[in-house]
Subunit: 344 residues, 3 copies
């Protein structure tokens, strides 16, 4: 089932692959793990973002091991026999093949897949054909435009390794009935019944919750770590938006900062979660800026959640487990179930 | 094969689950691992011992993680969404489900399986139907009554993790031909040919061995660590009884103390063994009581045995292994083989 | 596929099992891992080398755990019930079986497989029938006789654990196109295009390379660590011979020393490599002898290679990998591919 999900959900969907900010100039690259595969995501000479399998066309060697960097000479060179590819994926040089009859360099470029951007986020799709990223996302780009995500810059990262299936992480993310029980510090800042969910969409599940009066953001003390993001109106400054962009990105949008959770299924019962915090570049540059109250708040909340996801994983692994009923306010979980079943 | 054994042997048999002493009052519970499943074994309000799958009926969360304790308010509460069950397994409270049409609390009680007691031991059977524990045990309860096992109290515990299949542990337990070679300290106290086995029974395999003249018990120096158990006649004070209560409990009954080995298969080549030493409560309370000579004696003997079981596991894993002939005094091994084959 | 290779390639071929030097006298033994099986390779009373499965015929116990030694009393005794076998594999003693009707000792000797020697090397073949080792090797014994391998003695050992399939290790070994890129220190001593490969043979793949003028051997400083081996003519003193004796031995023959790499596949993506350095016994005995420059040179080179093999393993594991074209000077890789395919 895990392999089937990797193939049919992560291998065919638009998967989060990183931030356009990390690909500022031609030759800048990041490695992205998509459906368990290592992909090179790179800015090409024309300024486009492109994605290639991290596999040499000669003897299959992994081309790049370092997670992020700038390619010297705008070239990807295999460390084994020095086969060299351009930023467009074309094989430029293949030493030793000169006398190999019938060998055509043009047939041995890197395997390319689709990479597309939305508001500062880069997504990769291993499948050929199908809707573009923006078409796929429907009304989400318009809905989230006020937060100006493309401008935001990362200020902190925590990588979690959770002993639970990726779907349990999204389930946990998609309802706040557990909040008063598990997250008293969150409940004190934002009432768990204040939330309103958007109708489920094939690309995302989410909605928003309201901050309690006197609370400016979700941080340790309820004070903002930065001024409100410039595009937000008065109403949006009183809310936190939560979106699961299926299957692999969770987005938390606060009045003053953004968070991304990138889900990487490692095994049926193991998920790596790369969690980043972002603010407006002017905030980051301002004197005395300190994201710690936002980081600490969510790190505590995350750990409470991962512990529950791990308990759920252990319970569900029992032969005595049978699916139970959902509450009304668990409607996004039901939508997630259907979304998964449809794709499998 | 391992999964088949878990299903057909451990999943359908009476498996040792702990001591009634640990369930003294209503709300006292222990977690038991039965056929790889976590079960909550609890004393209910009427004083009966009951067993439930450790799985919430809402979203499958493992309800309890702590191995042993007393349930506050006589309730089992899920830490995720606070679904709350009584000691009778009934769902008492399910916050957030008020407006879920068609939801009936009565249909969502904990999954219950049979728990029964014999002379201070608690057993769990995951299968529905079949003989009661005491019917199943046949003449064993009468045979072992003199030791008064229900009264005895634990004084020491060692948990072993052995890289061998559970059947090799029982094979090793079921013959003493290896004793003069492997256990010189045991052979000095009890001659390996002094044993007499009972006829094999569907519930148990065992018999007894005699202590050599001048030896009072199996301890480092051959002296007893406590006065003889009150129910033993002169003959029984000269013997050690050994019973494998299939599939998961090994019982050693000495004149002055009892031992239990609870077998927990973890993998085809890995077994966890929880080993406990017990004495009469008056002995434990007496001045200067010290079980160390009994603990040390068996800890040494156990380690000698586990090492052999691990060597047997490694050898049997070879494609060159083929089953060999048994000696006459390995008749219980033959009985064990047939017992296993019949159940698979 | 890994199990199929173990069965059809390692389980049916002549696999390297150690050095005759370690079996100098009757009763001397080494344990060899062949196709994942533990085998006892022993010098018998008549001076022949023989190989037995390391499995007792009684209850399957692994008979010997220590990697190398001399058998006391020319007997192999099981530590469990003292069944005792002679160096000829015959069951000599089986305590406790006296009254077991129908039991015949003669039917319970150790499982024997073929062990044969070539020029100081011992090989084991788990399959019955088929060509003898020397017939199988064809012209290789004659070709390598000048190095006098039987005389050489081990002076150093390093065991590597490489996260790559065994075939990638042999691929890496079988071409030097990567040498100028990856091994500058090797390239400085021996030009990568100086090599000439022998025609591929069913038993081996290999050839030789030339040392650059002024270079005496492959060592840190290009100086020999010992005088030239006595059987080498002037031409051979200017070369290094490299032979993969399929499937499990790699042989490096320098003017002054020999190396063996014994490959032990542990998993589809894990190979243990036992690497030894040997010199002429007179060199070892001579004052001031120090193999360090040869050991350090190859340890550095080996680590460079294993790192590439591990990168290749990671890349090939991608679903985007597809076999690429070989260069002319990768002809031994093509031969290896065909050799594997024929056997599977």
């Amino acid at each position: 089932m895990f392999r089937r999900e990797q193939e049919r959900i992560f291998g065919r969907g638009w998967c989060y692959a990183g931030r356009a900010h990390d690909l500022a100039s031609p030759g800048d690259y990041v490695l992205a793990e998509v459906a368990g595969e290592s992909m090179i995501v790179v800015r090409d000479a024309q300024g486009a973002v492109r994605a290639y399998a991290n596999v040499c066309r000669h003897r299959g060697t992994r081309l790049i091991e370092k997670a992020q960097g700038r390619l010297a000479g705008h070239a990807i060179q295999c460390p084994y026999h020095a086969w060299t590819y351009g930023l467009d994926g074309a094989l430029r040089s293949s030493p030793g093949m000169e006398r190999s009859e019938g060998f055509a360099r043009a047939e041995h470029g890197l395997i390319e897949v689709r990479a597309q951007q939305w508001d500062g986020h880069v997504f990769v799709n291993l499948a050929h054909g199908g809707a573009s990223l923006v078409t796929h996302l429907g009304d989400l780009p318009a809905r989230l435009r006020p937060w100006g995500m493309a401008d935001l810059v990362a200020v902190h990262e925590i990588v979690y390794s959770v002993a639970a299936n990726w779907k349990l992480i999204i389930q946990n993310y998609s309802e706040c009935l557990h909040c008063p029980i598990v997250h008293p510090q969150l409940q004190a800042l934002s009432h768990h019944l204040s939330g309103v969910n958007d109708p489920p969409h094939a690309a995302y599940l989410g909605g928003h919750m309201e901050l309690r009066p006197g609370v400016a953001s979700l941080t340790e003390d309820g004070k903002a770590v930065a001024p409100p993001l410039p595009g937000l109106d008065a109403a949006k400054r009183r809310t936190v938006a939560y979106y699961a962009v299926l299957p692999s990105l969770l987005l938390n949008l606060h009045p003053d900062y953004m968070m991304t959770f990138a889900l990487h299924p490692q095994a049926v019962d193991r998920t790596r979660i790369d969690c980043l915090w972002y603010v407006h570049p002017e905030s980051r540059a301002s004197a005395g800026f300190d994201p710690t109250p936002a980081v600490t708040f969510w790190d505590q909340t995350n750990r409470q959640d991962w512990q529950l996801c791990e308990r759920a994983q252990r319970g569900i692994a029992s032969s005595h487990y049978r699916p139970g009923p959902y509450a009304n306010r668990e409607e996004l979980l039901w939508a997630l179930d259907r979304w998964v079943v449809e794709r499998l």
